[in-house]
């Protein structure tokens, strides 16, 4: 018994962490990431991949609802930490490990049973506690957010939401007219448009001229390498976005990064780190984070090391032919923003690299509105869309020039 507990504690000593940063917690997030990198705790990709949910700062009501959904999707054993300040970070993380390792075994067993029962009977699983959290809060979250009409998902965390519409796609594939014309018996599929509370997909012409299924999905507000709080509502055909709208959750919450003390080089490295994560280059992303954290140091020699490191990672990214080949041509922003925000993803990456290496260049300007970015996302594939979003510096205050009503 003791042995198994110790084994458990050992196994959970390096938990995977999902960070949710509320607005205005940039420095806190950087400090946390630095500490996680130092400890070798990996960053989680999705709720399924998460052991520890780390909530930084004070989330607004909509983000809080999304976090609750996210929490319900995390498998046992799990632990949630709310951090307001980086002061006792080390202590809090130690405590987290202890709490995870000591998570009451009965709670764990309790959680596992419904999951298995749910596997046999998808609908039956709803009664059980572990599962209940997941399905129901999904809908609750949606009600809170007040966007229920748009898609059955609300912001259910990482878009588990829209998914349900997904595979029973094509009900609409067969339109009534055609059916009437055919005039044969045996179609009983037109009773009601939803399954398990989720509407069916519709069809629309795709870019190749075929009328295929469209799914309404909500992507965000919490994803790896994604600006927390950003919500992409899109129509998805396969993996191509046919329409896209971007908005912030808690749009009235304007606690952006405090003005005045922005360190451009660190900001650029931060941007690069999340972009490289999205581009699937974790080693370079780690280097960028490392350089960013070193630049915050007050120690002279550490600072010099960090500068060299920043230059190295910027040079490596800038010169990478593979990265250039894979992102070139995506996301042309021909905008009124002036020279520095235009161009494709690659141009912006290179400009970020220039800033990151400490050069005296202007950082790419943030787009003035989310709609401008959303317009570029239309017609791109999901991965490209993620790259485009990661390549621009979106900040909450800038987005507010685009009125919420414009989304409709």
């Amino acid at each position: 018994m003791d042995l198994s507990r110790r084994l458990r504690a050992w196994a959970l000593a390096r938990p995977r962490v999902l960070i949710v940063d509320a607005p205005g917690t940039v420095e806190l997030r950087r400090a946390v990431e630095a500490e996680l990198d130092r400890r070798g705790w990996p960053l989680a990709m999705s709720p399924a991949d998460t052991d520890v949910l780390l909530v930084l700062g004070l989330p607004g009501p909509e983000l809080a609802a999304a976090i609750d959904v996210l929490w319900s999707q995390i498998a046992q054993p799990r632990h949630r930490v709310d951090l307001r300040a980086a002061t006792d970070l080390h202590h809090r993380l130690e405590e987290t490990v202890r709490a995870l390792g000591a998570a009451a075994p009965e709670e764990h067993v309790d959680g596992a049973v419904p999951a298995r029962a749910g596997a046999g009977h998808p609908a039956g699983g709803m009664d059980h506690s572990g599962h209940e959290g997941m399905d129901h809060s999904g809908h609750e979250g949606m009600d809170h957010s007040g966007m229920a009409g748009m898609d059955h998902s609300g912001m259910a965390g990482m878009d588990h939401s829209g998914m349900a519409g997904m595979d029973h796609s094509g009900m609409a594939g067969m339109d009534h007219a055609a059916m009437g014309g055919g005039g044969h018996a045996g179609h009983h599929m037109h009773h009601g448009g939803d399954v398990a509370g989720l509407p069916m997909a519709e069809t629309a012409p795709d870019r190749d001229g075929l009328a295929l299924d469209v799914l309404r999905v909500a992507i965000g507000p919490v994803l790896p390498g994604w600006p927390t709080g950003l919500l992409l509502r899109a129509d998805l055909q396969g993996d191509v976005l046919t329409s896209a709208r971007l908005s912030w959750v808690d749009a009235t919450d304007d606690r952006g990064s405090p003005p005045g003390k922005v360190h451009p080089q660190r900001a650029a490295l931060d941007q690069l780190a999340s972009l490289l994560l999205v581009a699937g280059w974790p080693t370079a992303a780690r280097d960028a984070r490392c350089a960013r954290d070193g630049l915050a140091s007050t120690d002279r020699s550490e600072l010099a090391t960090a500068r060299r490191r920043a230059e190295r990672v910027a040079r490596r990214v800038r010169r990478s032919r593979a990265l250039a080949w894979t992102v070139r041509g995506a996301g042309h922003l021909h905008s009124s923003l002036g020279r520095t925000a235009g161009g494709d993803v690659l141009d912006r990456v290179r400009r970020w690299c220039d800033v990151a290496s400490g050069g005296d260049v202007e950082a790419p300007a943030s787009p003035t509105s989310l709609d401008e970015v959303a317009a570029v996302l239309e017609g791109t594939e999901l991965g490209t869309a993620r790259l485009i979003v990661a390549s621009v510096a979106l900040d909450r205050s800038a987005a507010r020039t685009a009125p919420e009503e414009a989304r409709a």
Binding site: H168, S169, G170, M171, G186, H188, M189, V195, D208
Partner: protein, 193 residues
């Protein structure tokens, strides 16, 4: 004449045979199109298993390989074109079910009557050491003509299939006078052009 298959092998053949037919029936019974596709794959894999028992190693493995790839692609088309691919709503889409069932059943009965009445000429012949080698030598020797025709047929299929399925020709890509330097594709590929 006794079979040279062991009792276990015969049992395995019978079980796999039953599985293959069950998979075949499941294709038209289950609601979910994804499940139908993979029921068909199960049927193919069961037949591949029987071929393995008959020493036809190459054919068995190739059947598994080809059919898996084919079914994986089939699954995508199923989701593209079929309503209700996940089978979340019970439905059937058949016409002339009775006539089809009768046709299927009659065919089966006729075949079975034939199978069980014909006096099969089971000979005492030499088995080749390696069935794969036998097939390979046939393809490259006595039966080369068959492979040549198959090759041409497959090539024609590739061309015809592409032409039928795509809506864009070179005039769409390179302009009416084919003068464009770079093709106008919705998604640029990985080649520098």
């Amino acid at each position: 004449m006794l079979t040279d298959l062991s009792g276990w092998t015969v049992a395995a053949v019978v079980v796999l045979g039953v599985l293959s037919v069950a998979g075949g029936i499941a294709v038209f019974v289950v609601d979910s199109m994804a499940r139908a596709t993979f029921a068909l794959l199960a049927s193919f894999l069961a037949v591949a298993g029987v071929l393995l028992a008959f020493d036809l190693v190459y054919l068995a493995v190739v059947t598994a390989l080809m059919m898996t790839i084919e079914m994986a692609i089939m699954a995508v088309f199923m989701i593209m074109f079929m309503m209700n691919p996940a089978g979340l709503m019970p439905m059937t889409m058949v016409h002339n079910a009775r006539g089809s069932a009768v046709t299927g059943a009659v065919t089966f009965v006729v075949l079975v009557v034939g199978i069980w009445t014909v006096d099969w000429p089971i000979g005492r012949t030499e088995r080749p050491e390696d069935s794969t080698r036998q097939l390979g030598e046939a393809i490259m020797g006595s039966h080369m003509l068959v492979m040549l025709v198959i090759g041409i047929g497959l090539f024609a299929t590739i061309l015809a299939g592409t032409v039928l399925a795509t809506a864009r020709g070179r005039y769409d890509r390179f302009g009416a006078d084919l003068a464009a330097k770079r093709p106008d594709d919705p998604i640029p590929g990985g080649l520098p052009r």
